[in-house]
Amino acid sequence: MMDDEVEMVTIYVMGKRHRVPAGLTIMKAMEYAGHQFRRGAGCRGGFCGACATIYRTKGSYKLQGALACQKIVEDGMYIAQIPFSPAEKKTYNIEELRPDAGVFLEYYPEIARCLSCNTCTKACPQDIMVMDYVQAALRGDVEEAAKLSFDCIGCGLCAVRCPAEIVPYNIGQLARRLYSRHIVGPTEHVLKRVREIEEGRFDEEIEELKTLDREALQERYETRERRL
């Protein structure tokens, strides 16, 4: 493709200038520019949270967060990937926990340092009210924290931006686990599906899938995407 055929934009990946076709996602634009992803790419569909990216656009002071596989490049964009946010994930037995404020303070006491600055919410590519769910957890409202954080895919951008060094996605995950285990309990449709699996209802299909070659699998996958 030549520059005069397709509209091109200039982006800066880790400070290096590239001319890339407009309309590409950050991820595709980076690949176009010659980057090969060994980390920081997963489902490519906006579900897995592996491709957390921060960027600034031309003329703006704002540091913004996005998923590289979802965000379309803009002219003059400065891009850096944050493929991993260093954070300790605590080990707990969900069966033994009580769904209250104490459990959050026990495992993640740093939530008490929340400044309510809302930087996490501003960083979230999923448009989740991150600060609100951290605050709900702090006051022991497990249900609210679980519901508000439901769309979290754990990309980690909130955690790298938090001035109080909180890891919000861990809080949301704990809230959702507590909520589903101790407040709503297992739902009927899940129990039904587990029974079906145990009864071998899907065994035949799985066995069939195992015999397919790469092309046939890809065809199935893409048909499934269209069906959805």
Binding site: C114, N118, L138, R139
Partner: protein, 299 residues
């Protein structure tokens, strides 16, 4: 009268009895306390460093909620009622600073970005002030079961009274809780340390120090013949109440003394026993209340 109400985190956990008894008692007096929607932790304590802006976001965000609430007609006034002494102090002081300092107000607005700008129209009060404004005779009229013979030592602690200009009452000799207790029919026990610090947040990493300070306060109350101590702060309640376990370790022969929220005594006197929540207090105040004939014997 519907007033905006800011609970604060602890009122939803270890101080549920404070909230429950306060809401029920206020309602009995015709004051509907309407909880703020989407409130966040006030970020206690107040930011004292003069260049601090970040710690104003939390309190001011809540004051924005109050303005939004009033705008949508959920409440009749922009006087936000607090129960927790520390929330009261944090919200009140942050409010005063940004109203005074336009530059700080502007910075807060810019950093918040996604909020409506704070108009500075909110007044922060404590429930005790609301009660005083109602007039004590109105409180006394509502009493169904006077707390006759109950000897209560009011304990204010720090942040309801200090620093100067931010307290709800006279800084050296506050009387508001005394007047309330009298209206409820209780006998007030005066202790010199009613405004001394309980050690506050040192309870996290220096609990022995807190036990020392709490012991001084509790010992004065016991010596003066109090049946219990009344407080208005969930941290004072914790340090004077559950921390008695530590006091016992340091002081041989220490006799436990119940510590209750003033609102619990109000609910009791108003005949709202189901809203008193005494079962959450540690040490248990019920034996002392039974001894004074204010609660039925255990069935």
């Amino acid at each position: 009268m519907r007033l905006p109400y800011y609970p604060g985190c602890t009122l939803k956990t270890t101080a549920q009895n404070f909230e429950e008894s306060a809401l029920a008692s206020a309602r009995a007096l015709g004051v509907e306390l309407v909880e703020l929607p989407r409130w966040n932790c006030c970020g206690t304590v107040h930011a004292l460093a003069k260049d601090d802006v970040m710690h104003y976001l939390a309190p001011i965000r809540n004051l924005i909620r109050v303005e939004e609430m009033a705008e949508s007609g959920l409440v009749d006034e922009k006087r936000v009622v607090t129960l927790c002494a520390m929330c009261y102090n944090t919200l009140k002081r942050a409010n005063a600073v940004v109203k005074e300092d336009q530059e700080k107000m502007q910075k807060v607005r810019e950093i918040m970005e996604r909020e409506n700008p704070y108009g500075g129209s909110v007044q922060v009060v404590h429930l005790l002030q609301v009660l005083r404004d109602l007039d004590w005779s109105k409180v006394a009229d509502r009493v169904e079961r006077p707390l006759k013979g109950l000897r209560v030592a009011p304990y204010y602690g720090c942040l309801l009274l200090r620093p100067r200009g931010f307290g709800i009452d006279d800084v050296d000799n506050p009387q508001v809780m005394e007047r309330l207790l009298e209206a409820l029919g209780a006998e007030v026990v005066n202790i010199p340390f009613k405004t001394k610090c309980c050690g506050a947040y040192h309870t996290v990493q220096m609990k022995e120090v807190v036990a020392e300070l709490s012991h001084r306060i509790l010992d004065q109350a016991s010596s003066a013949g109090a049946d219990m101590v009344a407080t208005a702060c969930p941290l004072c309640e914790y340090n004077l109440g559950p921390r008695q376990e530590e006091v016992k370790k340091l002081f041989r022969g220490f006799a436990p003394l119940p510590v209750v929220y003033f609102t619990q005594l109000m609910a009791l006197a108003f005949g709202l026993e189901e809203a008193t929540g005494f079962e959450q207090n540690d040490p248990d105040p019920r034996p002392a209340l039974r001894a004074r004939g204010l609660l039925k014997e255990e069935s």
